[in-house]
């Protein structure tokens, strides 16, 4: 059974590119355009991995991450933060909040895939 991945980002073109990439590799892809929507879709559809942008409208990635980690039912969901803010404090903040990985935009598609596979144990 293919793994389910949610892409949460408000940049349409980034979503298009990642979605294309992941589908080509055989993943099932869900999309959310803001933080609240992302949280709702995780709860509803239980993806295996969330690619989480930090700067999103309504609810930012850190808050989404914190909410997910506060929910024991969702403890199996892996979280990979993707953000254009590459400062060390941001990285450690994301990891501190319980994210499983962190990638800085712009990223290499190969590395993204490798990271995704690693987190999914593939």
């Amino acid at each position: 059974m293919s793994k389910k991945i949610l892409i949460a980002d408000d940049e349409q073109n980034i979503v298009i590119s990642i979605e294309f990439l992941l589908r080509r590799e055989g993943f099932e892809v869900l999309v959310a355009g803001d933080g609240e929507e992302a949280l709702a879709r995780v709860r509803a559809e239980r993806p295996d991995l969330v690619l989480l942008d930090v700067m999103m409208p309504r609810m930012n990635g850190f808050d989404v991450c914190q909410a997910l980690r506060a929910d024991p039912d969702l403890s199996g969901t892996r979280i990979l933060m993707l953000t254009a803010k590459g400062r060390d404090t941001e990285v450690s903040k994301g990891l501190g909040l319980g994210a499983d990985g962190y990638m800085t935009k712009p990223f290499s598609t190969k590395e993204l895939l490798a990271e995704v596979r690693k987190l999914l144990g593939m």
Binding site: N13, I14, S17, I18, F20, A84, K105, P106, T109
Partner: protein, 918 residues
């Protein structure tokens, strides 16, 4: 009630009362509860300035010269109001150096010179004797007037009767006895007399009340107020001259010299120096005295003119001496009580002056004249005597008797020839001779002992020749030819037209020549050689008295002395018990239980010397201390070095204080600057972080699409074209972002180029519409225009304005719903500006976001689809452009009904005007 026994009893009772007050004051002082530690009492004690000269003599003077009595009160008033700092400096110096008199002051300043102290003492005694004679004359005169009551008989000439029958002789003796009891009951190191000051303050009160009582009686009892007196005056044309401002025969020079003379007198008269400086308890009292003492002078002068005029009118042609009006007016009306009060008031004025003056003079005679002579010639017997305090008291008592007898002698010799005021002015002129040495000594480091000696001698000799000797000549004790033809018949040496100087009154004449010679000799001789060791030391102590010179005197002493020797020495002059307690107190102050050390340090030697200085004067104290302490003389170089160091230290410490203040201020500024920097840094960080975020976002898409295309050569054509299209548009977004970021940075840093010119706004709007028409066509939107013609011109940069319009129009287009969009662009004329509005029927902007959208990188959007394209910099840039040209840019919107962006730009001529005003 004015019979002899009553008058004598009243006088004796009053003197007894004074003595009781003095005794009480001394007792309280011994208990440490000073009754004179009060600025009002201090000011009242200064009023010892007002003697019988004021009490009786002012009226006499006013009866001759109108307001000519005034300048001797204007001088002190000016000095107290404008020259109080001189007094303050004197107080500081006197306290720091335990100076006991004006002779001590001058001798101490010029290197503790015996010769100088002696000279000043002689000048003071000789100069003051006429003044004491004046008091005797006034007091004996009033006694004999009272005793002839109810008749008014002018006192007969004393010179014609024998000494044994002369009442003033007995008055002099009584005063001497009284002063001895008052001032020399015991010897004190600081030579302060608290009880005496209390009694003097009381006397000042009594004489003021008595004088005001007569004034009210004459003005409102005999006459009907001030106006009435002046009306009566109109019927006596012979008195009219009294009412001119500067009466004839006195002139402005006369006024000037009297003001100068009295101003100097209030500082340097021995008794004024005593009460104002030596007896000062607390220098803060000076503040109140500075206005209270002048106020006292004003009060005691208010009724002088009415009494004088009243007396002249009342006794017209009866041969009553105007100097007696104060007493004779109440007597003529049979107001016995008032007459007695006046007598007591006059007694207050006279005794107050005599007591303080003779105590001050006797201290000087003892410390600066007799002691030095004894030290020189009777050293042997002095050394044998264990306790010398009795000797000192004996000298002072003898001096008091001697001075009063000399006063009596002058009164017998010359007293009859002059009015009260004229006698007083002779003394004032003598005292004025102290001014150059005193003032120069306090403010000029260059003054030397030789200069002071020369100046004082020259001034004193000229005073004697031009004022004192003529007073004898006028009384017939010297040949009258001395006055009219000069000494040895040399015309140029006529004492009151010296060197042919005529046209001045005798006081101005004396003052001119004596001060000229005095100042000339003082400065001239001082400049002949640089100050010597002792002079330079004391010059620094005196001139820098208001700065903190600390223990300079102690620093400038080097030698060896034994504590026991010093204590024994002090004990011989002050009594062993007093010496014991003074040394014990010193040890306590130094934080040592007992002075066990055998060797005394410089500070203790200094302390012993200052204790002795209080009793025997600073010059003698120096000699006595030198006899038990082996001083190693310092060379002038060493002294100058120490003085230099001291003054350098002060300079350094001032410099240090200044630097430290500057440093504190700088630290504060630095802190503020740092906070500003941190704030700026934070802002910059935020912006940098926003900019990088905005840059990374399109880069992310570009890189991802590029890699997808590269890694999959067999990608479908449709995908391939779509991705390439997205890459291009993201690249465009990137360059737009970079351009706008740079643009905004340029505007914000003020480095943008503005090409301001007069513009037709309509043309700008139309041009912008043409450029964006494609956008609206794509959305199939309807565009309404309302652009009137012939609008006023505005002043702006055409390209920048088009940039604003393009931004607003493309924003509007961005949010229009496909096919149903409506946009309207309007131009309106306001009072002093044009307004452009761009309205759309898009989703609108929530009220909380309406300001947010003008911030950098703050795009507002809801969903992924609504995420607006654009950099988030368009509106911030537009607002800055509009504001640069004096306008305003804002948005009005109801969510769901669209948004209207408006901006205004002022008319070109209004802006020109504004610029002109600016």
């Amino acid at each position: 009630m004015l019979e002899a026994p009553v008058v004598v009893a009243a006088a004796l009772f009053y003197l007894g009362l004074l003595f009781a007050v003095a005794w009480w004051g001394d007792r309280r002082a011994d208990q440490g509860k000073s009754i004179i530690a009060n600025p009002t009492i201090y000011a009242l004690s200064m009023a010892v300035y007002c003697t019988t000269w004021t009490f009786y003599g002012s009226v006499g003077r006013a009866a001759v010269s109108g307001i000519g009595f005034l300048p001797v009160y204007l001088g002190p008033t000016l000095v107290m109001a404008l020259g109080w700092f001189v007094l303050l400096k004197m107080i500081r110096i006197v306290k720091a150096n335990r100076i006991t008199s004006i002779a001590d002051f001058i001798s101490s300043r010029y290197g503790k010179s015996h010769l100088l102290g002696g000279l000043v003492t002689i000048i003071a005694v000789v100069g003051i004797i006429p003044y004491i004679a004046l008091q005797l004359k006034a007091m004996s005169g009033t006694v004999s007037l009272l005793l002839s009551y109810p008749e008014i008989v002018m006192p007969s000439r004393s010179a014609t009767m024998s000494v044994a029958a002369d009442m003033s002789f007995y008055i002099a003796l009584i005063l001497a006895a009284f002063t001895i009891v008052f001032g020399t009951r015991h010897l004190d190191a600081t030579e302060r007399h608290e009880g005496m000051v209390a009694a003097i303050a009381l006397e000042s009160g009594v004489k003021l009340v008595a004088f005001l009582a007569v004034g009210v009686f004459v003005t409102y009892g005999l006459y009907d107020g001030f106006g009435d007196i002046f009306e009566h005056l109109a019927t006596h044309p012979e008195l009219r001259h009294l009412m001119t401002a500067i009466p004839s025969g006195q002139g402005y020079t006369g006024w000037f010299s009297l003001i100068l003379l009295s101003g100097l007198a209030v500082l340097f008269l021995p008794r004024q120096f005593q009460v104002a400086v030596v007896e000062n308890v607390n220098e803060a009292h000076l503040k109140r005295a500075a206005w209270l003492f002048p106020l006292y002078l004003l009060l005691i002068n208010i009724f002088v003119l009415p009494i004088a005029l009243g007396g002249l009118l009342h006794f017209s042609g009866q041969g009553v001496d105007a100097d007696t009006f104060v007493l004779t007016l109440p007597m003529s009306q049979r107001h016995e009580g008032l007459a007695l009060l006046v007598f007591i008031g006059g007694l207050s004025a006279g005794t107050g002056m005599v007591i303080v003056e003779t105590i001050a003079l006797s201290t000087m005679v003892c410390n600066d004249l007799v002691m030095p002579l004894l030290l020189r010639h009777k050293r042997q017997s002095l050394d044998e005597s264990k306790d010398l305090s009795g000797v000192l008291l004996g000298i002072r008592r003898g001096a008091i008797v001697g001075i009063l007898l000399l006063g009596y002698l002058y009164f017998r010799l010359a007293g009859e020839a002059y009015a009260l005021v004229a006698i007083g002015l002779i003394s004032f002129s003598a005292v004025a001779q102290f001014a150059p040495a005193m003032i120069g000594g306090m403010y000029w480091r260059g003054g030397t002992r030789g200069g002071a000696l020369a100046g004082l001698s020259a001034g004193f000799l000229i005073w004697g020749y031009t004022l004192l000797l003529p007073s004898f000549a006028k009384s017939g004790w010297l040949p009258a030819a001395f006055l009219t033809q000069g000494i040895f018949g040399i015309d140029l040496l006529r004492p009151q037209q010296l060197f042919g100087l005529t046209g001045l009154d005798e006081i101005s004449h004396c003052l001119f020549w004596s001060l000229l010679a005095n100042i000339g000799a003082y400065v001239g001789v001082s400049l002949l050689r640089p100050p010597m060791v002792a002079e330079a030391t004391q010059a620094t102590v005196f001139v820098d008295a208001l700065k903190d010179t600390g223990k300079l005197g102690a620093v400038l002493w080097r030698g060896r002395a034994k504590v026991s020797d010093l204590q024994e020495l002090v004990g011989r002059f002050l009594g062993p018990a007093r010496a014991q307690s003074a040394f014990a107190a010193y040890a306590r102050r130094q934080g040592r239980g007992k002075l066990v050390t055998l060797e005394a340090d410089a500070q203790l030697v200094q302390f012993a010397e200052s204790l002795l200085a209080g009793a025997i004067g600073s010059a003698s104290a120096r000699v006595m201390v030198a006899s038990v302490a082996k001083e190693e003389p310092l060379s002038i170089d060493e002294v100058m070095h120490i003085l230099d160091e001291a003054s350098q230290l002060r300079t350094y410490s001032r410099e240090l204080e200044r630097k430290s203040r500057e440093l504190t201020a700088a630290t504060l500024e630095l802190q503020e600057a740092n906070e500003r920097l941190q704030e700026l840094d934070r802002v910059k960080d935020d912006i940098m972080s926003s900019v990088t975020h905005e840059l990374r976002t399109p880069l992310t898409s570009i890189r991802a699409f590029s890699e997808l295309l590269r890694d999959d050569p067999k990608m479908h054509l449709a995908d391939r074209e779509r991705f390439l299209g997205l890459i291009v548009s993201e690249a465009e977004r990137l360059s737009r972002l970079i351009n706008q970021t740079l643009d905004l940075a340029k505007i914000e840093s003020g480095r943008a180029d503005w090409n301001g010119c007069e513009l037709d706004l309509k043309e700008v709007v139309e041009q912008s519409l043409a450029a964006t028409s494609q956008l609206f066509r794509e959305k199939d939107a309807h565009v309404d225009l309302d652009l009137p013609d012939n609008l006023p011109l505005i002043l702006a940069d055409r390209d920048r304005l088009i940039q604003v319009m393009l931004n607003l129009l493309s924003n509007a287009a961005k949010f229009l719903v496909q096919g149903a969009g409506r946009v309207s662009v309007k131009l309106r004329v306001l009072a002093d500006a044009l307004e452009v509005s761009v309205s759309d029927n898009g989703p609108g902007i929530r009220p909380e976001d309406q300001e947010l959208i003008f911030e950098k990188f703050r795009q507002v959007g809801d969903t992924m689809t609504a995420k607006p394209a654009g950099t988030g910099l368009g509106l911030p840039i537009s607002r800055r452009i509009v504001e640069h040209f004096g306008g305003r840019l804002w948005v009005e919107s109801v969510p769901g009904e669209g948004a209207t962006f408006r901006f205004t730009l002022p008319f070109a001529d209004a802006q020109v005007e504004e610029a002109a005003v600016a």
